[in-house]
Amino acid sequence: MISTVSKYVRRSPYQALSAALIMGLTFFAVTVFSILTILSIRFISYFETRPQLTVFFKDSATREEIRDLEKNLSDTQKTSSIKYVSKEEALAIYREQNKSDPILLDLVTADILPASIEVQATQAEHLSELAGVVRGSPLVEEVIFQKDIVDTLISWTNAARRLGIAVIAILVTVSVLVIITIIGIKITVRREEIETMRLLGATNWFIRAPFLLEGAFYGVVGSLIGGSLAIGLFYYFSPSFESFLRGVAIFPVSPIMMLELLAIEVIIASLLGIFASYLAVLRYLK
């Protein structure tokens, strides 16, 4: 059976290449959007586990005044932790984040960085109330409400996901149609041979199986090409992404996770290939 499939593929290499490439393109897109989904989940969960409210103070605010404000927040019983970050600590964090860029390090001193507190709420719905407590204070320069960031990220991620699903749906449809067409052409070309096999006593399964396996073959090869290419590019550009998103701990992504993703894609692609071939077989081998 395998040798028959191999013969069918070798006899029409350009058709086989077209089928594998369209599958490759589809699974390249599937891999890209899967990686983006993994990264966005990590990105969002990173922000969700960070202090959910960051309060930056004016330079005139003293540590005592800030302590009073911290007490006001604690008294609400709705905070799980409050962490003070002084100007010096802010500079240390800044230096750590920009250690590879001496120009940026030279330009910044502790004086120009604000002191801040990072407030973790016990529950997400308490954030609005906690923000209300600090927003009215004359000591406060700016309040960064992490929930807003997370909500924005979620809405961006959902939009990207919807776009990804639409693109993948189109590519999957095109792949299925291309495989139906290619297998259909092959069945038509081999009609005489198929008829002879039937007259000699071949079962439907014996005649159909090589075409179904051929579809699976296109799926496997296509997903390996597309998946490997996308994963390879991701790892190649990972250092650049990491530098761009410095401070946001979403890297590294485990190679085992990527291999699992590839394995799942290979299984899905082979099933898709079999499905497309089965449609062709139903259409052309009645």
Binding site: E192, E193, L199, L200, T203, F206
Partner: protein
């Protein structure tokens, strides 16, 4: 072995077979004779259930072919070896691969199938041609490949549809000898021909004309009908020569590739 009872086959409203009845016993050698278009091939197609009759009953042994489930049809076709009029050899497979083909359906291993195919090919005198392609063989050799392929399942019956149609008289007699040898080993042979010269008095002959049996001559009986299909034979010979030329051109093209 095979029985046709009032079998009629119509395409649209045109009858190709009209209330045909006959019975063929196990181990016999029977000719089915008639001009082109008389319905000989239709009889064979009905026996392997390639088509269904419009009316009538067909049985093969204890199988009623009309009520045979579709899933059993491949099994029926393995009980019956067919030498097709156009041979139906696969030109991109070697001689031995062509003969191995039916064995592959039965799930036999490649090694076993090859050994079996080689044995049958040596029985039909093609032991030296195993790795040739059909277009590299003479007409008679191709017929032998088709016969070997029909024999490889050790069928109970061989249906040979004009197996000498493309051949000169000497080669035709060689093929006939081969079929008779097979018959002597116990296989029933049902052979369609329009070549009267091949038919001996000692065999049973069913004559078909316009879809009707006009004579069923038992072995040893003298035929009352004149079986003169000579003009049609000559026309078909010309057609065969054209086919030969076409195949030679195909072969040359393949060789160039």
């Amino acid at each position: 072995m095979i029985e046709f009872k009032d079998v009629t086959k119509k395409y649209a409203d045109d009858p190709v077979l009209d209330k045909v009845s006959f019975q063929i016993d196990k181990g016999s050698f029977v000719y089915l004779v008639g001009p082109t278009g008389s319905g000989k091939t239709t009889v064979f197609r009905l026996i392997i259930r390639d088509i269904m009759p419009t009316e009538g009953v067909i049985t093969l042994g204890d199988w009623d072919l009309l009520s045979l489930p579709r899933s059993r049809v491949p099994h029926l076709r393995r009980r019956v070896g067919v030498v097709f009029q156009d041979l139906k050899l696969l030109i991109d497979r070697t001689v031995v691969e062509n003969v191995m083909l039916p064995l592959e359906f039965s799930g036999m291993s490649e090694q076993e199938a090859r050994e079996k195919a080689e044995t049958v090919l040596s029985e039909v005198g093609l032991e030296g041609k195993l790795d040739k392609f059909p277009l590299q063989l003479s007409g008679g050799e191709r017929q032998r490949v088709a016969i070997a392929r029909a024999l490889v399942f050790e069928p109970e019956i061989i249906l040979a549809d004009e197996p000498t149609g493309n051949l000169d008289l000497e080669t035709s007699f060689q093929i006939l000898d081969l079929l008779q040898t097979i018959n002597k080993k116990g296989t029933t042979v049902f052979m369609a021909t329009h070549n009267d010269k091949l038919i001996s008095e000692a065999t049973r002959v069913i004559i078909l004309e316009s879809g009707k049996i006009i004579e069923d001559k038992k072995p040893g009986e003298k035929s009352e009908k004149k079986r003169d299909f000579q003009d049609k034979d000559q026309l078909e010979d010309k057609g065969d020569k054209r086919q030969e030329t076409g195949e030679k051109i195909k072969l040359e093209t393949l060789a160039k590739k």
